[in-house]
């Protein structure tokens, strides 16, 4: 069962989420939908994100790979230079620096696509609500027995409208 409640006040959304978590709903079962980012107080609905870590990892990995690539390929191709060094730390370091940036970009974007369920959509239990300017939708995925409690929390917090949706339809 999927409950979608519409709110127009951010404090109401915060109250609703707090009471839902107090009822025992986990963060994975609650999802908010809005056309602008909703700033909830810290601790209400915290989402962990690993994008920063992936950015750093991407930077390190890409830079290492690129530098190793240049090093080994420069030495494998029998380039004649008459003594001009093939691989110098300073000049290849510039390419390494750029590849740090490129790797950070790649890590950030890939992790964003993954965490946001963009490009390759994540399976959803029901359709997301159509966004309305000024409104925030709170969607709760609850087993049939608990839907009444959830609806109660949402109405008490000040929901303007509540829709029900049977999963699988």
């Amino acid at each position: 069962m999927l409950l979608t409640a519409e709110f127009v006040e951010t404090e109401a959304v915060s109250k609703a989420v707090t009471s839902l978590t107090a009822e025992g709903f986990s963060g994975d079962e609650i999802e908010l939908f809005s056309d602008v980012p909703v700033q909830l107080p810290p601790g209400v609905l915290d989402r962990r994100s690993r994008i920063s870590l992936m950015a750093v990892l991407g930077a390190v990995v890409n830079a290492s790979l690129a530098t190793a690539f240049i090093y080994f390929t420069q030495h494998n191709y029998p380039l004649v230079t008459g003594g001009m060094p093939i691989f110098t730390g300073w000049s290849i370091g510039i390419v390494t620096g750029e590849m740090v940036g490129a790797g950070a970009v790649a890590g950030t974007i890939l992790m964003l696509l993954w965490e946001g369920g963009l490009l390759i959509p994540r399976k959803r239990s029901g359709p997301p609500p159509a966004l309305k300017p000024g409104s925030v939708f709170v969607q709760v995925s609850c087993p049939d027995g608990r839907s009444v409690r959830a609806a109660g929390c949402l109405t008490k917090a000040g929901a303007v409208d509540i829709q029900e949706h049977r999963e699988g339809r």
Binding site: T81, G82, G83, M84
Partner: protein
């Protein structure tokens, strides 16, 4: 830069500025030997002449006490050439005999090497080269024609070096000093130019390079050029 091994040649040149008369026979000979495109007054006005070796003129004093000094300037075949690291495709490099080689087929025409050469001895083919009749019959078959879009410069007549080495190998004798004469060296009427192996201590050019009259052009830039200019009281 790695020093040349003792058994490798290190081709160098000595030019005696006190003997040079500025006749530019070397320029004409180079044009003939290396299939250089013809330079016309029109191309000179546009700054697009091709003179792999050129004679620079320096005037001293006021009329009537004017002195003119001539200085033939060609590719210095630097041991530490500034043109080499900047080519993005490795079209110019220093070969085992100390020559700064330009690979025409590899050049994509960024012209960075030409900018970085402090002696301004590199030339770019702005168009496909053309020769007025019947000069195209005069081409040297040992030297390739450069297409549009590539850089070229003096090679110390590498085709003559190769020919001399092949002849020596065929005859079963080592290469002797004076066997190789680039076109400019050969044509100088004042015998102001000497060419040879700097690694051979008994060669004429090595002796001249060691003499007190020898200097190099703009050597303070650290290019380590291999053309030695001899002048009085240097």
């Amino acid at each position: 830069m790695a020093e040349q091994e003792a058994k490798n040649h290190s081709w160098g040149m000595a030019i005696d500025l006190d003997r040079c008369t500025g006749c530019e026979a070397c320029v004409a000979a180079c044009h003939a030997e290396n299939n250089l495109p013809v330079s016309t007054p029109d191309s000179a006005a546009k700054g697009r002449t091709f003179h792999w070796i050129r004679v620079d003129r320096y005037y001293e004093g006021e009329f009537p006490d004017v002195k003119v000094k001539y200085m033939p300037v060609l590719c210095q075949q630097c041991d530490d050439a500034p043109c080499e690291p900047v080519c993005p495709v490795h079209a110019t490099y220093q070969n085992a005999e100390g020559l700064n080689a330009q690979v025409y087929n590899r050049c994509v025409g960024t012209r960075y090497c030409a900018n970085n050469c402090p002696y301004t001895v590199r030339f770019f083919n702005w168009f496909e080269p053309e020769w007025p009749e019947p000069l195209q019959l005069q081409h040297n078959p040992d030297v390739s024609i450069r297409p549009a879009g590539v850089i070229e410069k003096c090679t110390f007549c590498v085709q003559r070096i190769k020919r001399a080495k092949l002849d020596a190998m065929h005859d079963g004798r080592p290469l002797a000093d004076g066997d190789v004469k680039p076109a400019c060296v050969q044509s100088c009427p004042a015998e102001a130019m000497v060419f040879g192996d700097l690694n051979d201590p008994s060669s004429k050019v090595a002796a001249l390079a060691r003499s007190g009259r020898a200097t190099r052009l703009m050597e303070e830039l650290g290019t380590r050029p291999k053309v030695f200019y001899l002048e009085r009281g240097a």
